[in-house]
């Protein structure tokens, strides 16, 4: 239960980090909070030749509330983003999700961007980015690109970040007017990965009619599964919309739960999350009147 040997690098600038990563190529791995990577190393499930520790790049420890949303720097820990009143006001789903991420002690070290790049389909933050249609900013020497969430998560523990690329930040779009969000999950023990989890985003018009209803499911497939249920919600109500969400996921059996049970949970949680998001959006409409 010790990491395999690797060459350790502690760059002092983003430019230096990108150079080291570019030189390391496929043998390079970025270490930020380490709350997923170090267990993988300890269990010898990963053995990178070069570990590039970005913990000294304090310029990346940022949470910036911009007009259109929240930009989270690569070194911002979960706990910092969770505490940020500005981030919670701009996009409440961030705090709703972060409170479900593991335990407070893990959140003191783990980073939001690290969780996205780790791309665990059971994790909350990839689901949040997918539901909101956010993006991840990746950089290599001389080139920076923003990858939309829809193309970022490519498989279990696989993201669009290529060897030699450093994730600099992630952007979470702000909650629009007359919108509400919610995140519900069921785990065997508090802080565990969820057996099933659903986050929802609902938008209403001034007459309280649903104009957008989307859900995203964790532990339900190889990547976060986003389901648009606007049509169902308008025509048949939340229960029917939630049944549709449950039909569209592809959970697998494992020692923790059967696929059928996960699907059932997904339906139950989808209805809760959609109803709560709608109530929250309705409250927003109420206060605007």
């Amino acid at each position: 239960m010790k990491p395999p040997p690797f060459e350790y690098h502690a760059p002092r600038s983003v430019a230096e980090a990108m150079e080291v990563l570019a030189a390391a190529g496929p043998e390079g791995k970025v270490l930020a909070g380490g709350q997923s990577l170090i267990p993988l190393l300890n269990m010898r499930l990963a053995a990178p030749g070069h570990l590039v520790d970005v913990n000294r790049l304090t310029g990346l420890d940022t949470v910036e509330v911009e007009p259109g949303g929240v930009r989270v720097g690569a070194l911002a820990r979960h706990a910092r983003v969770e505490r940020s009143a500005g981030a919670a006001a701009a996009q409440p789903l961030l705090r709703q999700a972060l409170r479900l991420v593991a335990h407070p002690v893990i959140r003191n070290r783990g980073t939001v961007v690290g969780s996205l790049v780790h791309a665990d389909p059971a994790a909350e933050l990839p689901a949040v980015l997918a539901l909101l249609g956010g993006s991840v900013r990746l950089a290599r020497p001389g080139a920076v690109r923003d990858v939309p969430a829809a193309g970022f998560f490519t498989g279990p523990l696989e993201s669009a970040a290529e060897p030699g690329e450093l994730a600099l930040s992630a952007f979470f779009p702000a909650l629009g007017p007359r919108c509400g969000t919610a995140f519900h999950e069921v785990a065997r023990r508090h802080g565990d990965y969820a057996l099933a989890g659903v986050a929802a985003l609902v938008r209403l018009d001034d007459g309280l009619r649903v104009t957008t209803a989307r859900a995203v499911c964790v532990s339900a497939g190889p990547v976060p599964v986003v389901v648009d249920v606007t049509g169902h919600a308008c025509a048949d109500g939340w229960a029917a919309a939630a049944r549709d969400v449950a039909k569209r996921v592809e959970p697998e059996d494992d020692i923790h739960a059967s696929a059928a049970y996960r699907r059932h949970l997904t339906g139950v949680l989808a209805e809760r999350a959609l109803r709560e998001a709608a109530a929250s959006a309705a409250g927003d409409v109420g206060t605007r009147r």
């Binding site: 350790y8 705090r95 990965y193």
Partner: protein
């Protein structure tokens, strides 16, 4: 693989070690620095036994590289007692309330609870359970541990006049955090002079869980 020179301030004492890049902070503390109070249970972030305070924040030392901690302050269970060896309020409470049986998980609980009560001196039942949720005890259960947290909060409140001695200080907040809310505890120095030095601080098998 070249060794790396690291300098850690452990329990107020500057310590140096030459370690391979892969050395875990838990192993550095135990093997390189001889501080065996930090216990190592699962080594993948689940059990919480190895919890120490890094710049005042509780963290898993088995999920932190010693090289990453270079230049930072660490408080281990050996550093919780006062300068004269007087057990801290949290340590006294665990002894009084039988908050331990075999003691293996205890260093992690003590570090976690020390930070929890520093940030939130009067936690609700739910906040206590949330705060303890990342630490496992396999001997007996959590009734007496929860009782110990309650008792520690009483002891700390009782010592407010004089100010508790020997508490590790919290992390220094950047000005950008001034707007922050969302933790029940006082961030900043709201507690006044009597608690100077203890204010601040944030607060499947989820292998340590997410967030690379």
């Amino acid at each position: 693989m070249t060794n790396i020179a690291v300098t850690l301030t452990v329990n107020g004492v500057v310590r140096r070690a030459e370690v391979p890049g892969r050395r875990l902070l838990s192993d550095c503390l135990r093997h390189d620095l001889g501080l065996t109070g930090t216990h190592v249970g699962c080594e993948h972030g689940v059990c919480g036994c190895c919890t120490v305070l890094l710049d005042g924040e509780p963290v898993r030392s088995c999920l932190t590289l010693a090289a990453t901690a270079d230049g930072h302050e660490i408080t281990t269970v050996e550093g919780l007692a006062g300068p004269d060896g007087e057990p801290s309020p949290v340590q006294r409470a665990f002894a009084e309330c039988h908050g331990l049986q075999c003691g293996f998980c205890t260093p992690g609980f003590l570090c976690t609870v020390t930070a929890l009560l520093r940030d939130n001196p009067a936690p609700s039942e739910e906040e206590v359970l949330e705060g303890l949720s990342g630490n496992l005890c396999r001997c007996t259960g959590y009734q007496n541990i929860v009782r110990s947290v309650r008792r520690a909060a009483e002891l700390i409140a009782g010592e407010d006049d004089g100010g508790p001695a020997g508490w590790p200080s919290g992390p220094v907040r950047t000005s950008g955090d001034a707007e922050d809310t969302g933790h029940a505890g006082p961030a900043g120095d709201a507690e006044g002079a009597g608690r100077a030095g203890i204010a601040g601080g944030a607060t499947g098998e989820r292998a340590g869980a997410e967030g690379a």
